[in-house]
């Protein structure tokens, strides 16, 4: 007997089911063919969540059923439409109607099914406790969220690929240009991904079953609204038949806004599910600042490029209002942050003179946050307005001092409301650890509602319940005052009630602002702590090991 045959004889004899399991291991870890092995090697660079969820989706009934239903509906619509088009199909332009049908069919999986699946996927991770075991691995919250979003993108790609031949058919049936088809698909895909990003983030914010159910219902409502909005937009685009060049710019800006806010939302969600001792504030403030600056530049650019002389002031006022909304929402949430900076976060505080001078406002805490929001809004809005006022020629611009004053009024409101919310949080939420951000947002909403109700009641009472008239004491009512002082109402500024309202607003915001600045001093003097040497060594060891592994894996793949 040869040594080879004796070796064969000494191998354990496996039962058929054991052979099956052994084969499953071989197939998964090694791959059967060279092509498998290449794919497995390639998958080392792919997000593990994407790999896992793709495997799950391929076995899930939800995905198979959706794909099957989509195929059936698309085939049915294609056949019905083509039969209806005969005999004009040979000479008339019939592509438009067919594409409208396909767009409507695609809206359902893109804007309803995929985002809901993303929501459920994230929510069930948190609900079933699998997120905890996942968070103990080397995957960061960013990896997890991006992985979930990539799964949504992959599903979208598969659904789109089902319709690819049908969409090619619409082009062959005449009546449509390639840019119409491209814009339809880009808009649909970007909206689907944006809604999925919102769904994943919302699921990450939900801390218990009640919140999950609540968010799920709100999300579904939002999805239905988005489906109608996107559907009507697509209907308009496809029916119009051609795309003006400006539309691409609008689409570009829309995509930019969608991408930036999705990024911000995912970052916030990542911080919400991340380690509690981590600096969770600065990673959100950086994109907030970038988005604010970019929005100021974009809105300014479009106002100046596309606005005529008479509309310039109104366009810039809208831009400034948009910036105000951006910073006000961020600010009122930020006011709930705790003043204590964890040791881990203190290790990454700026230590150089320039760093402390310019980056301290990015430090966690409501105090630095107050100054960060106020300075960011004032910096971007005043720069936008003053640049347009001084740099644009009189033939191009109708900007008046009222617009500059309007920005000052907005800044005063920001200082007043954020400052008040911060003081309330400092007094009443001192011992509260969880849910502070939601609480501060709620306090702001309550303050706004109270100010509106109180001023309206006061105005009615002082006019013997006959009419509503603006007076100086109505200044806490942000909406009413801003409406009265809107730059286009130039003559209102000189009225005594408006003048005194502005004076009262200035005084109250200055008082609240000064108190808050004084209270911020203790947050600003917090110094950086040196990272222990062993921790630094350990991190560099991990980094070098990872680089080495990447290099080896790259060589192996080649």
């Amino acid at each position: 007997m040869t040594s080879a045959s004796s070796a064969l004889d000494s191998r354990p004899i496996l039962a058929p089911d054991q052979l099956e399991h052994a084969a499953a291991i071989e197939q998964l870890v090694e791959g059967e063919t060279a092509w498998d092995r290449r794919l497995i090697s390639l998958s080392n660079w792919i997000n593990p969540i994407l790999v896992k969820e793709t495997r799950q989706a391929l076995k899930s009934k939800q995905f198979s059923m959706t794909l099957l239903l989509l195929t059936i509906v698309v085939l049915a619509w294609s056949m019905m439409a083509i039969i209806g088009m005969i005999p004009s199909i040979y000479y008339a332009s019939n592509g438009t109607g067919l594409l409208i049908g396909y767009s409507i069919i695609l809206i359902f999986p893109s804007l309803i099914i995929i985002p809901q699946a993303a929501f459920r996927s994230m929510a069930s991770e948190l609900d079933d406790g699998t997120f905890e075991t996942l968070s103990l691995s080397t995957l960061t919250p960013r990896h997890i969220l991006i992985g979930k979003l990539s799964v949504a993108a992959l599903q979208l790609l598969i659904y789109f690929s089902v319709l690819a031949p049908c969409i090619a058919l619409t082009y062959l049936l005449r009546g449509l240009t390639l840019d119409v088809i491209a814009m339809t698909l880009i808009l649909l895909a970007s909206c689907s991904l944006a809604v999925s990003a919102i769904a994943i983030s919302v699921a990450a914010f939900a801390r218990n079953r009640v919140q999950q159910v609540f968010f799920s219902i709100v999300l579904l409502g939002g999805q239905v609204f988005a489906a109608f909005a996107v559907g009507s937009t697509l209907l308009g685009i496809v029916s119009y038949g051609s795309i003006p060049s400006e539309s691409w710019i609008v689409l570009g800006v829309f995509l930019l806004v969608v991408i930036l806010y999705s990024w911000l939302l995912l970052r916030s969600a990542g911080c919400a599910i991340g380690v509690a001792s981590e600096n969770r504030s600065t990673p959100i403030r950086v994109p907030l600042l970038l988005i604010g600056l970019l929005m100021a530049m974009l809105t300014g650019f479009f106002s100046i490029c596309y606005g005529d002389r008479t509309a310039m002031q109104d366009l810039l006022a809208v831009s400034v209002n948009f910036l105000f909304a951006h910073w006000a929402i961020a600010g009122c949430i930020m006011m709930g942050e705790q003043g204590v900076i964890p040791v881990r976060a203190r290790r990454s505080l700026p230590s150089s003179l320039w760093g402390r001078l310019f980056l301290t406002w990015l430090n966690p805490g409501a105090g630095p946050g107050y100054l960060f929001v106020l300075l960011s809004f004032m910096g971007s809005a005043f720069t936008l307005v003053l640049a347009a006022w001084f740099l644009l020629p009189a033939t191009k611009s109708n900007i008046t001092i009222q617009l500059v004053l309007y920005v000052a009024v907005l800044s005063a409101y920001l200082a007043l409301y954020m400052g008040t919310v911060r003081l309330i949080c400092m007094v009443f939420l001192r011992r509260v650890m969880a849910g502070r951000l939601v609480a501060s947002f709620t306090i702001t909403c309550v303050l706004l509602i109270l100010s509106v109700v109180a001023t309206l009641s006061l105005s009615l009472a002082s006019n013997r319940y006959q009419r509503l008239a603006f007076d100086w004491y109505c200044f806490p009512n942000l909406f009413w005052t801003l409406g009265e002082l809107y730059p286009s109402n130039q003559n209102r500024w000189v009225l005594p009630e408006c003048f005194f309202a502005v004076v009262c607003l200035a005084i109250s915001s200055a008082v609240i602002g000064l108190i808050n600045v004084a209270l911020t001093a203790k947050d600003v003097v917090v110094l950086r702590i040196e990272t222990p040497e062993r921790v630094v060594r350990e991190r560099s060891k991990i980094r070098s090991k990872k680089e080495e592994e990447d290099e080896l894996e790259g060589l192996a793949a080649e």
Partner: protein, 320 residues
């Protein structure tokens, strides 16, 4: 083999430093401190709601302590949770699973999640499947697994990246005797390989067999800590002796009552039990005395209290 990222020193692998955790007015963990050294198995014993799971979750960086700190291999769970997690494998008491996956896919996913790529991942998968015995059911869907197999899979997931520290929360809960013995053997093997293990369980006899040290907790407080023998010695001052004489039971009782160190004598016919102060030497001395006094002894057995007895003695059964 995956780098265990462990520093070479004699400092403890796990340190709980005055850890407190409050949930509202409830003190789930109330000033717990202990140390576990490399390769040791530390058993965490306590009634339901004693604070075992919360302590383990703090060590696993899933909860932050309200006060105090926990250190794993020199890294704080508060300040460096990412470095702690690299050294740690955690098996929670509840099994969280993904639908539409089989065993090997599940482990493969966690191997990827721990950053294992290429040959390292393949090696880790093979090692884990073979160690846990899951290689025989690798392609079976997770949803169809028995409780014992799920526990094995859970253990496999916790050890896929060869962690230096394993935290196992009630790993034997709900397992049949065979699965329990197999799990105990796996834990002992891991400890022999140098893994530091913190394990909680209600089955005290099992913990007594496999743990180098135990800690008894109740209402968030650590009531006793040390090796099982140490705790028994500390908690029990005397040996319990059972003695059966051939005859003259009454005289023997009288003789015993005059001996120093003997107390609490209870007699039933010629059989009696009593407490004896001291250790083996005193025991031998007493036996020699009885024989020299011409008593015929049929049975002489001395025993210390079991871990179960000690546990019942220390804890009051109170819950928060």
């Amino acid at each position: 083999m995956v780098d265990r990222f462990v520093h070479e020193s004699n400092s403890p692998m796990i340190e709980m430093l005055r850890v407190h955790r409050f949930f509202g007015k409830t003190r789930a963990v109330n000033d717990i401190s202990f140390e576990v050294y490399r390769g040791q198995v530390f058993g965490f014993i306590g009634p339901n709601g004693a604070g075992k799971t919360t302590s383990m979750r703090i060590l696993s960086t899933l909860e932050l302590p309200s006060y105090g700190d926990a250190v794993v291999d020199g890294f704080s769970v508060i300040n460096d949770p990412d470095l702690v997690r690299r050294r740690l494998g955690f098996m929670p008491d509840g099994f969280s699973m993904y639908p539409n996956m089989n065993c090997v896919e599940y482990l493969d996913f966690f191997a990827r999640a721990y950053g294992l790529i290429g040959k390292d991942r393949i090696a880790a998968l093979r090692r884990t499947l073979s160690f846990t015995g899951l290689d025989k059911i690798a392609s079976k869907p997770i949803t169809g697994l028995s409780k014992g197999m799920r526990q094995r899979l859970c253990l496999g997931r916790a050890m896929i990246h060869s962690p230096a520290v394993l935290i196992l929360d009630e790993p034997a809960n709900g397992l049949d005797p065979r699965a329990r013995i197999e799990l105990r053997q796996m834990i002992q093997q891991l400890a022999v390989d140098g893994t530091t293990i913190l394990v909680s369980s209600h089955i005290l006899t099992e913990l007594a067999e496999m743990c180098d040290q135990v800690g008894i907790v109740e209402r968030g407080r650590l009531l006793a800590t040390g090796s099982v023998a140490d705790i028994q010695r500390t908690m029990q001052g005397a040996l319990r002796v059972q003695l059966t004489a051939m005859d003259r039971g009454e005289q023997l009782q009288e003789w015993l009552s005059q001996r120093q160190g003997v107390s609490h004598i209870q007699r039933s016919g010629n059989t009696m039990s009593f407490e004896l102060q001291g250790g083996n030497l005193e025991q031998a001395d007493l036996l020699k005395g009885i024989v020299n006094a011409d008593f015929s002894i049929m049975e002489f057995a001395a025993h210390r209290e079991t871990l179960e007895d000690v546990f019942m003695k220390i804890t009051t059964g109170a819950v928060q």
